[in-house]
Every structure is written in C-alpha cells, then in structure tokens.
C-alpha cells in the first residue's frame, strides 16, 4: 500500500500539469477557486477514520491510489446503444467520461436554460461565480455552527479538478414542461478519476424535475467519480431531484449534494443506488426560509462485496420548516452499508417538524450495516422523530406465504419487494418507472 501522504502530494504536484486542460482559467475567480481548493486538499488530504463522517467503512482504492483525469477528448461513442430520449423528457444531457458530449432537446421554453459548465463560463460567468462557492466554504461549519468541524476534502479535490458539469437555470415562475435528464456513461481505457460540478438554480416560483441517470462504466478499470451538485431553490420554487446510481465493481462514486432552500421552497431528493463497487451519497440541506420543506428518500441495494453509504445533514435554520428523510437499505451476500443522518435545529427555529427513518434488510449472514441517527435540537418548540431498524426476512411472513403455495424463492422476492415498495412509493414517477423494471431485473437473477 502506498503512503497516503504520498498520494496527496501526487495530486498536488499533478495539478499544475492538468490545469491547462481545465475550463475557466480565463476567469480570475475560477482560477483562484481551483488554486485555493488544491491547497486545501493538500492540507487536509482524504478523510481518514478520525473523521466521524468517514469512520464506518473504508473505501478501497480511494485514499491509497493516485488517479489521473483522462485527457483524450474525442472518444468513439457507440451512439446506437443509447436509447432515444423519451417524449416526456425535455432535455437530455449526456456525459461521457465526465464530459458533456451531447445536449439533446426539443425547443426550449423561454426561461429554461440547460447547458454545460463550459458554456456558462463563456456566456454567464457571473451566475457561476455566485453559485460555486470556494471549497473552504464546504465545510461542516456551513451546516452546523461547530467551529472545529472539518471541511469536505473530496469537495475540495472536485473544486480543483472539475472538468465539466451541467448547469440548470430556471427563470421566475417557469414550470418546466417535461423532465431534464442528466445521463452519465463511461468507457475508460485506464484507471481514472473524473470530477463533475453541477448547479441547479430555480428562481422564485419555478418548478422543475431532474433525473440523473448514472450508469456503470463499460471497461473494468477503476474509476473514481466525484459529483458535486449545488442546488439553490428561491422563494416558492420546487425541485424534484432524482438519481439512479449504478456502477460496476471497480467504480467508486462519491456524490455530494448541497441544497439551500429559501422561503416556501420545496426540495424532493430521491435516490436509488445500486452499485457493485463503492458508492457514497452525501446530501446536505439548509432550510433557510420559513415554510421550506425537504423530502429525502434513499434506497440502497447492495450485493457481492459492494459498499453503500448515505450521509444526510439537514439543518433547520429558521422557524416553521419541515424535513422528512426515509432511508432503506437492502444488503445481500458480503455487501456493506451505512446510514448516518443528522438533523440540526437551530436556536429559535421553533415550529420545526423533522422526521428521519432508516430501515435495513439483511438478506445474508455476511452482510453488515451501520446506522447512526442524530438529533441536535437547540430550539424549544419542535417535533422531531427518528427511528432506525435492522432486520432480516421474517420467518412468520415467509411461512404464511409458503402455506398459500408460494415457493420460498418467490416468497422472499415478494417480501424484498414489499420492503422496497414502501420507499419506491415515495419516489416520483420518472424514477419509479426505472426502479420497477430494475428491481424485477435485479431479483429475478436469483431465481
């Protein structure tokens, strides 16, 4: 195993070589943002087990391997294998190896902008400057007021090396007709890393539905992907943000969502995660305006030796805000999982309603899951609840089903589906459509 600080230094040293290929260097603030970010990463390094948020499982190949971003730009893409976008999809952005290769859309209504980071750098960099904060602001301090909490160093690495991203900008009072799909495919010829930086901004009173469709890479090279998405919902706007995250056994996904909710806005964040490799899903939500509402639904499904982690941090910063989090984990074979969820209610944030529920289903004796719910309540008049359970398939239920003539494997499938149905029913239709087919596929294999 290579020395961790050696890996850290290699990233630092490679930065100057890679820099000329990265977008936004013509902009002073962006160059500075990248420079500061790599310095910060060099200072902090990858999070080790001393960081509470990372102390449950070890991500193999993340901290002890050096990855390069892949430089060749025009890779042969097998277009026919990509299905056409369906009729309800307004815009589809396709990322290949972390870079946008196509933006496919019908005529866009006025006030709807969906384009690449590069396009915005060229045409509307002031908007980006406002939305992409310096890496040192992505610290835990942004969510809690604890002074000694650590910055997110993978976000810093992303800020230094990001190559592309999707920018969604919806004007005031626009209700986007149809959904926006961000599709990620890849086919790396060597071990690589990719960093994607996206921004979703909804102006006052607008409404939008987005799905990120993240597929496993074709070749069997280790690929470390960092996706950072900044979401800003203005007063009275509403976003349904859906992710379907898949990956092969060599994929390491780290996805960070930072959402800021103004007065009366609504954020729905649904994730279906099934990665054969390692996937980490971090969702941080700041409820800044009164009557802001957030709903987080996560379903993680692990098999083989996969690792799935979800970390949520929801901060109720003002009066009368509401958050609901529902996390479900199904683990088979030797897979590992963890859920860490934290709700923080600031002083004076009376009238807060917060619920968190994490349930895990273990299908094998070797599977392991950790769950850690936390509440930090500094206000007086709040209603908060959390519940975490870990269980296996119920023998009573299995016997009941079998006594009606249902064979054991079919009974197991029915019970697994019933466990996941409780969360899938919270998902929005575009994700359900994908999830249902997927779950059938997934659990038919065991027949």
């Amino acid at each position: 195993m290579k020395n961790i600080s050696d890996i850290k230094n290699r990233y630092y040293k490679s930065y100057n070589d890679i820099l000329p290929n990265l977008p936004g260097l013509g902009l002073d603030w962006m160059k500075r943002l990248r420079d500061d970010a790599i310095k910060q990463f060099h200072q902090d390094g990858f999070p080790d087990k001393s960081v509470e948020e990372w102390n449950v499982n070890s991500f193999k190949g993340l901290t002890d391997t050096f990855y390069m971003t892949q430089q060749e730009d025009s890779y042969e893409i097998d277009y026919p294998s990509i299905e056409k976008k369906d009729a309800e999809c307004l815009v589809r952005v396709i990322f290949h190896n972390g870079k946008i290769i196509s933006i496919d859309h019908d005529e866009l209504p006025k006030g709807v902008q969906v384009n690449s980071l590069k396009f915005f750098i060229k045409n509307n960099s002031d908007f980006l400057k406002e939305k992409i904060k310096p890496a040192n602001e992505y610290s835990e301090a942004r969510l809690s007021n604890i002074i000694d909490s650590r910055p997110q160093s993978i976000v810093a690495l992303n800020a230094a090396f990001h190559e592309d991203g999707a920018i969604i900008h919806i004007d005031k009072n626009i209700e986007v007709p149809g959904y926006i799909e961000l599709m990620h495919i890849g086919d790396y010829s060597e071990n690589s890393m990719k960093h994607i930086r996206s921004v979703i901004f909804l102006d006052k009173g607008s409404k939008c539905e987005v799905i990120e469709n993240i597929q496993g890479h074709k070749n069997n090279n280790t690929v470390f992907t960092s996706d950072v998405t900044d979401i800003h919902l203005s007063q009275g706007s509403s976003l349904s943000y859906n992710r379907f995250i898949r990956g092969n056994s060599k994929n390491i996904h780290v996805n960070n969502v930072h959402a800021q909710l103004d007065k009366g806005s609504e954020f729905i964040c649904n994730s279906l995660i099934n990665c054969d490799g390692q996937a980490r899903n971090e969702v941080r939500i700041n409820l800044l305006g009164e009557h802001a509402i957030s709903n987080v639904n996560v379903l993680m499904m692990g098999k083989n030796k996969s690792l799935h982690e979800t970390l949520t941090k929801v901060k109720h910063a003002t009066k009368n805000t509401k958050s609901v989090q529902v996390i479900r984990t199904i683990l088979d074979e030797n897979s590992r999982g963890s859920f860490q969820g934290k709700i923080r209610v600031e002083e004076g944030a009376d009238g807060t309603l917060a619920e968190m529920s994490g349930k895990s289903l273990l299908l094998s004796d070797q599977a392991r899951v950790n769950a850690k719910p936390e509440l930090e309540i500094l206000a007086d008049d709040v209603k908060c609840s959390h519940g975490v359970t870990v269980g296996t398939l119920s023998k009573e239920q299995l016997f009941y089903l079998q006594s009606r003539g249902i064979p054991e494997h079919e009974a197991r499938k029915l019970l697994i589906n019933s466990f996941s149905n409780t969360i899938i029913s919270n998902f929005s239709n575009i994700l359900i459509k994908r999830a249902e087919n997927f779950i059938l596929e997934n659990y038919n294999e065991n027949d």
Binding site: S394, K395, E396, Q397, F399, Y400, L401, Q402, S403, R404, G405, I406, P407, E408, E410, A411, L414, L415, N417, S418, F419, S420, N421, T422
Partner: protein
C-alpha cells in the same frame, strides 16, 4: 366415502418438549371434524405440523394425505396439493396488496399442478365473485395483507383466501378466537358455503359456539397430545356440561 387424511401414532416435539404423543385420526372426504381440547393439549401444534411449519420435530408416526406422505412435502407443495391452514393469527405483510398476494399464491399453485395461470382480468373476475359470495367489499383487494385489519376482517380474509384457493383439506386453527358473535356467524357461513363432497375440514376450537354454526360431522377431544374421545356433535353438548376434565377422566 374415502379417507383423505390418515394420521397414525404421531409423536411431535417442539424444542425437545413432547407435544403430540401418539395422535391418530382419520378424516374422510366431505367430513368436517372438530378438534376440541384444553389449552396446551397440542391443537395448534397439529395444525402447524400438517401445514409444514419449521421447528416441529416429527419423532415418529405417519401422515398420509391423498395416499401420499404429507410430511415429505415442502409447505408450498402441500398447499398446491390442496392443504389450507387458516391461521389463528393471520400474518401482516406490509407493502403487498391482498390481491397481489392471493394471485401470486393461486398462480403458483396452478403452475405447480401444471395448470394455466390466470391473467389479471380472469383473476379479478374470480376474486370479485368470491368476495361477493362472502359479502366482502372489494376495497380490501388493494389493502396491504392483513395490515390494519380488524380481528373479524382478518378471519374473513382467511376465508376469502380459502375460497380462492379451493383446498381439499382445510384446517381452521381457532378461527373463532377474537371474533364477536356477528363476525363468527359470517365466518362460519363463509366456510359452510365452501363445503362439498370433496372438501374435508379440521376445525380447531375451544368453544361450542362455532360448532353450532359449522355443524361438524365428528368431534374429537384432544388432551395431552392424544385423541381421547371421538363422537358426533352431541359430544360437544356433553363437553359443555361436564367440561374437559370430566370427559378426560371418563375416557
């Protein structure tokens, strides 16, 4: 009449404790047999063993069902061969609609018997007809299996499943427990509607009341793991008068 179920000298242990101690019982097609007995006599153990529940260790004896060794068959195969257990405590299955559950069960049984599966429309037609016969509202098709059902609803749902699966051997394990008199009547009527020359039943109960409605052909008193007395329905009246102890002592 031919014998459908033949239990011979059955000895069963649960967690190394002897529960059934040489139980013998024959049931013919078309026969409704009531099994009565004090708490702890082994009534529910008998039901569980016949359905194939795990954790019941058959030490010796045999159970022949339609000429085959029942104890060799896995639970789902017993069901496909016509064995139905109406549970004393029907199990809740959140997230599964009752109609999905019953359709999955019915089609699994049909598949096992080499019959054509019912499609959604054929199934719904049958389910509607059966629900109507049992005077049940169709609302419960969509409800999750037994979730939030009242005691009476749970038992009626069991009878509905029974009518959908048309068993040959129906075992009603304390179907009357937790039911008020009206619910009891409805459930009993539901079972009576299913009676035929072919169907045979084992009705496990503590009380005479259910038997007033079900009118069993034979009554068997089970005490300390054995059948100690067999008779016709007049035996239930004697029991009412003398109590179990009186009958056991006389036997």
């Amino acid at each position: 009449m031919t014998i459908a179920l033949e239990i011979k000298d059955l000895h069963v242990e649960v967690s190394n404790k002897k529960i059934l101690k040489g139980l013998s019982l024959n049931i013919e097609h078309g026969e409704m047999a009531a099994i009565m007995g004090p708490n702890g006599a082994g009534k529910s153990t008998l039901a569980s063993v016949l359905a194939g529940k795990e954790g019941y260790n058959v030490v010796s004896g045999s159970v022949k069902y339609l000429g085959k060794n029942l104890l060799d068959m896995p639970t789902d195969e017993r069901a496909a061969a016509g064995v139905f257990l109406a549970f004393q405590y029907p199990v809740e299955i959140p997230g599964v609609a009752t109609s999905t559950f019953v359709r999955t069960a019915l089609n699994a049984q049909r598949r096992h018997r080499g019959e054509v599966e019912l499609d959604a429309i054929e199934f719904l037609k049958l389910a509607r007809a059966r629900a109507k016969e049992l005077e049940m509202s169709e609302d419960f098709f969509k409800r999750e299996v037994n979730v939030g059902f009242s005691g009476g609803e749970k038992k009626r749902a069991e009878v509905f499943q029974m009518s959908m699966l048309s068993p040959i051997l129906a075992i009603l394990d304390e179907t009357d427990s937790g039911l008020d008199i009206d619910a009891l009547k409805i459930v009993a009527e539901g079972v009576n509607k299913l009676r035929s020359d072919k169907l045979c039943g084992i009705v496990i109960t503590h009380y005479q009341r259910l038997l007033e409605y079900l009118k069993p052909d034979t009554i068997h008193i089970l005490a300390d793991g054995k059948i100690v007395k067999t008779g016709d329905k007049s035996l239930a009246l004697v029991l009412e008068e003398k109590g179990y102890q009186g009958i056991i002592e006389a036997a």
